[in-house]
Symmetry: C3
Subunit: 409 residues, 3 copies
């Protein structure tokens, strides 16, 4: 290696590097409830595990930063705060000694699984004066789509879970493929990535899934609120673009010579601009836009032949569960092709590599500060939805006299 | 997997989950000295290592949060603060260059092992003006029971170690088996677990040791203070219990048909209610109770044929040394059966699996907050003992004009 | 193991162990700019990577706590802040889509590599209103000695790098051997260790390098400032010493019977007390001392036949790059013996084991508090140099109206 001491390399102009505040938005104080919800929004049902994983042996999950013990008793899943009030040992290390109860591994404190009441302290005998004086917090549970769901609230009664699930999943038979994966990163980055208009066209250009799907370079998009969902409506799609001084950019699949025609939209992601039937069993189903989102972080992508859902479940401020659900509204023998397609292709191409790129971005996103651009209108509308809904809920609970404690910043 | 949308599962009642403060005691402010002693109580001798491990090559231990260098010189163990005052490099990385000294690895600062005085700075020559101007803190050491002990105080003279050891170990020949294990968890949880009445009957029910030992379901217990020890005296033991609405619970060994008789107590843990001889060489030894504890965290369990001790040595706020000592008061050829029994059974069954369950609980205990129950009287009395003794020591040292610095919260 | 209860072991005197403040200097407030510079001094060029490692594929380095993206474009290395202002994703995960630019992996925000200007947001089309409204911070770069250098300042124009490099490297042809290693420990400990007079004589006594090099036990040393360098001038060297009451200590190589004569100095490290030629190609080169140091942490050791440099590059407060450069001022065929020597011996003996001992000390140094001694005059003078130079630079920049922001404590 020879020490070279040439003059300043060509093209290096003397230039001041700038420091100081990053450009754009410094915090999320425009949406104070959203900003405060690092560990998730209370007042919702969240899926936490496959139903088949919850048995008579206690297990634990973390949801909204709280450890919860889960256990199946008499066919019903029960959920208690996973901390024995005696000395702080996790109840999920315990076991069932008497029907309908769980006993802490340390001293045999025994709680009724349904009410949370301390019904025995084994090592203090049947006359232990502490019985009936301690009640362990409990959580309501439900089972849907092959998963256990838990309601996390602020003391209010849990609303029926069916009122929170996507409507078409409640009232129509469907076959579903489900994937649950614990991921690094805040749950809000996961929602925002999922509903984000812009990144699919660039980040995912290298995924195998995209080999068979053209995608526009950019769109004209409106966000439409209808009920508890907001929809992305694409008024116009642009399949190629010339960037002045830079070059040409195309979103077409590599082997296609022409941009797809509007009426071939069924075979192209993103070309689902208006109302349509999802398939023969969902009549008059109206999806004004391809992608829609609702609280507390549920994404719905309406493909021509199936619907894909993503539930982003807050574990704590730095982790979330990715719950991907692929649903086709068929029944009987007609479900067989779904399984073949799901297991043979969708699971790997879509849930796998494509979704793995999203996983990566959610891990490394670091905002605010942030500098938003035009396609981020979808993010802004989602945050506004979250803020509006939460403000209304907070006012309602305060009217009911509930103490919301530390949920308010 | 088929999406099922049944009604609310049976047994799920609408119920408010409660939030807010945990029940019971929120802190340990009732015992301020005990609460402040996260990293241990000063003013005591602590065992830190097997004597055979301390040689002419410096080594380091952490005790009460402080790194201490240990080294054997002329047969005597010496202890210095393990941080060279020059640039903060551990002295334990150094070596002995001149008799009676240790030299720091970095610049050869050389300290007298006995006085801590800086007697040479090799790289500044014999006339270095810094010699005699720096003195490294030292610690008094002793060797007992095959271990090195260190006194950690606040500047006061160390009291004789024999005044702190269990009395019967000082004045009687004994054979001992010792186990030292670094464990996770605060030392106070270890003491409290060791002296705790309740958990042995439930947590340890699955240990192999218990296959051969029946244990009551619960007891009537009194705590008796005598000298520097507090003893657990069991007035009554209950071997079976019916828990109304739940079922029957028994503490008997699985192969025994009947509860043990009082006079068969020798073969049953916990049935050592009154004064008795430990064995032929300890005359008139009086243990009013089976389990006793003394400061700074020494547990003594008087079995019919031997005594088991546990010393819980504070390493820092999150770690402690478990030092288990099994002692039989025999000598000469009569020691041989002890070794056979200890190595062949006790070490594995008792020190191993049984104690491993305790280790697990100490790791996961998380208190305060805590909600104590009747058998925790033993914990309360231990905390009171620690508080009383420490309050008295603090007053005495202040009277003597010693600056206790940050030991007071 | 038999419980022994002997009296206090011989030699253990009753002694009070002392507590309280550590002796000596508690902080570095004497040198406030130096104290504040945990993550390095701004206003300098720093080497960060081998030139050959920087290609058209973006990569990232951390320098003074800041992540910087590096990428080669048209033969020139470009450096941008490695955080896309949109959502905080590292630009170094991106790729080049158009000449002279880099595009963020997430949404295709495309920055001009030279100016930092946002020239396209691919997923918002050619008419995106954000173009031209965002400029990413850039850094000036240079290539010297086979490495990429980056200037980190406070907004001022970068001075020419040649004015900061050791003078003899700018104006003379040289062959160099370079080693770059990321190390644990604050960069200031690395500089101080490098320039430190004392430790080489003791710490390195066990290195293989020292087998062939005698070293004095201690020296009489003066520090001389000349231009931007301070030099260590050794007035007298002492090859042996008697430490009263302890013993004799010698710095000679083990196989040498006599201390080296002054005129054999060429073959002995540290015996380079006065002005001399480094070799035939550097005429009138004047090094008043063997070891010299300059800002922002460059060490120069002038051996008789070559010069060894160490650049200590602040990565963050806890890591630094060790950049070792061995230079011989030869050219043409005369360079061949250098490579043979460097690869065959110097790289392993010196850069390897010897420097590995320094690496170890820099990792474990923990100061302040510190208690300095006479040979630490070299450290004090280095800190004074750093303080003086930085104070002057700060005043100059403030005069120029630059906002230094958080660089002032």
């Amino acid at each position: 290696m020879v020490a070279d001491t040439p003059a300043r390399p060509p093209g290096t102009r003397s230039r001041r590097s700038r420091r100081g505040r990053l450009p754009g938005r410094q915090d999320w104080s425009t949406w104070p409830h959203y900003q405060a919800a690092d560990a998730g929004f209370r007042g919702y049902w969240y899926p936490v595990a496959f139903s088949s994983r919850i048995t008579g042996k206690p297990t634990a999950v973390t949801l909204l930063g709280e450890r919860i013990m889960l256990m199946r008793d008499g066919g019903v899943v029960r959920a208690l705060k996973d901390r024995c009030p005696h000395r702080g040992v996790p109840l999920s290390y315990g076991a069932q000694q008497f029907p309908g109860t769980v006993s802490c591994v340390y001293h045999g404190w025994t709680f009724d699984l349904s009410s949370g009441e301390l019904v025995a302290a084994i090592t203090d005998g049947p006359a232990s004066p502490i019985c009936g004086k301690v009640t362990q917090p409990t959580f309501e549970t439900a089972e849907r789509l092959g998963m256990v769901w838990i309601f996390v609230g602020d003391g209010e009664d849990a609303p029926p879970i069916d009122g929170q699930l996507p409507e078409e999943l409640v009232s129509n038979p469907a076959v579903v493929g489900v994937r649950i994966q614990r991921r690094v990163g805040n749950w809000r980055f996961a929602v925002e990535n999922g509903y984000d208009e812009g990144h699919a066209k660039y980040l995912h250009r290298t995924s195998l899934w995209r080999l068979f799907k053209a995608m526009p370079v950019y769109n004209d998009t409106r966000i439409v609120r209808r009920g508890r969902w907001i929809y992305r409506v694409q008024d116009e799609q642009y399949w190629e673009a010339d960037f002045p001084g830079l070059g040409r950019w195309s979103g077409q699949a590599w082997y296609k010579l022409k941009p797809p025609k509007k009426d071939a939209g069924n075979r192209n992601i993103g070309n689902t601009g208006g109302s349509q039937k999802v398939n023969e069993t969902i009549e008059a189903q109206d999806f004004p836009g391809f992608a829609s989102v609702s609280m507390p972080g549920v994404l719905r992508i309406a493909y021509p032949h199936f619907i894909h859902y993503e539930f982003y479940v807050p574990v704590d401020a730095d982790h979330h569960l990715y719950v991907g659900v692929m649903a086709e509204f068929r029944r009987g023998l007609r479900t067989l092709p779904f399984y073949a397609k799901y297991l043979g292709a969708v699971r790997w191409l879509f849930h796998g590599q494509f979704s793995g790129q999203d996983k990566w971005m959610v891990e490394v996103t670091d905002a605010p500060p942030e500098r938003l651009y035009r396609p981020d209108e979808s993010l802004l509308q989602w945050r506004r939805l979250a803020e509006d809904v939460t403000k209304a809920r907070t006012a309602r609970l305060r009217d009911e006299g509930l103490d919301l404690g530390d949920t308010e910043a």
